[in-house]
Symmetry: C2
Subunit: 157 residues, 2 copies
C-alpha cells in the first residue's frame, strides 16, 4: 500500500488529492483546494501554497507526491507565475521528505479518461467513478486526484 498526494498547482487555486494505492485498488483519503488571498502580495500567496501543502502532508502522511506539470502557457508571464506556484508546492513536498514525480496534463487525462485530450468534466466524472465517490469533487480537487491516480496506475503495471 502506498499513500500518494496528487497536486495540481496554480497561483490562485492549488488542488490536492490524497489516495491509497494497493494492488487491490484505489481508495480515496482526502481532497480539497488551497485558495490564495487574491489581494495579497505574490510572495505571501506562494507562502500560502507552501503552508497549505505542508499542512495536508502533515495531516495525511503520504509517502509520494505526484505533481501535474504546468501546461506550457503561450504567454511567458503566465508561465513565470505558474512556475512560482509549482516551485512552492514541490518544495513543500520535498521538505517533508516525499519523493516527487511529475506528470504531464496529457498523461494524467490519458490515465483517468483513456484520452489525452479529455475535457475537465470527463476527468471529474472518471475520478468520481474510479474512487467510488458519492459526489463529484471540485474541478481543481478532481485534477489533483487524477494526478494521484495517474501515479498509482504506474505502480502496478
Amino acid at each position: 500500500m502506498e499513500r500518494v498526494i496528487g497536486i495540481d498547482p496554480g497561483s490562485r487555486v492549488t488542488g490536492y488529492g490524497v489516495i491509497d494505492s494497493a494492488p487491490g485498488g484505489l481508495h480515496f483519503v482526502a481532497c480539497g483546494t488551497i485558495k490564495t488571498t487574491v489581494k495579497a502580495p505574490f510572495s505571501h500567496r506562494l507562502n500560502e501554497i507552501f503552508d497549505g501543502i505542508n499542512e495536508v502532508i502533515q495531516l495525511h502522511g503520504p509517502a509520494v507526491a505526484a505533481v501535474e506539470d504546468v501546461f506550457l502557457a503561450s504567454n511567458p508571464r503566465s508561465a513565470l507565475k505558474l512556475g512560482h506556484a509549482r516551485g512552492a508546492a514541490v518544495v513543500a513536498a520535498m521538505q517533508n521528505g516525499l519523493v516527487v514525480h511529475d506528470y504531464s496534463p496529457r498523461a494524467v487525462k490519458q490515465a483517468v479518461a483513456g484520452y489525452g485530450q479529455a475535457e475537465k468534466s470527463q476527468v471529474q466524472h472518471m475520478v468520481r467513478v474510479l474512487l467510488a465517490l458519492s459526489a463529484s469533487p471540485s474541478s481543481d480537487a478532481a485534477d489533483a486526484l487524477a494526478v494521484a491516480i495517474c501515479h498509482a496506475n504506474r505502480l502496478f503495471v
Copy 2:
C-alpha cells in the same frame, strides 16, 4: 540598522548577498552562490535552493529579503523554469518570517550603476566600490548584493 539579504534566483546558480544598511552607510556581511546539482531531478534542485537560502538566513539572520525579478524570458519554457527557482527562494525567505520585496533587473542596475542597462561587469565593479570590498565577488553573488543595495537605497531616501 537593517540586515538585508539580496537574492538573484536561477535554476543552476542562485546568488545571495547579505549587507547591513544603516543611515551611515552600507556594510558587507556575506555573499556567495548556491549551485544546484545539474544531473539531479528538477525537484531536487529546487529543494537545494530552498535549503541553501534557508541556511544563509539561519546563519546571518537578515530581517528582509530583496529578490530580483526574473528577466522576462521570451521563451515560456525558460520563464517556467526560472519561476520555479524563484518560487523556491521566495518561500524559503517567507518561511523564515522575512518580508520579501521584489526589484526589477532594471531598478537594480539603476541603483548600483546609475543606469538601467548597465553591463554585468559594471554591476560587479560598482558593488565592489559601494561595499569597499577588496576583491570583486562572482557575477551571481554581485547581482545578489546589488539587489540588497537597491533595497537599502530605498530605505533612506
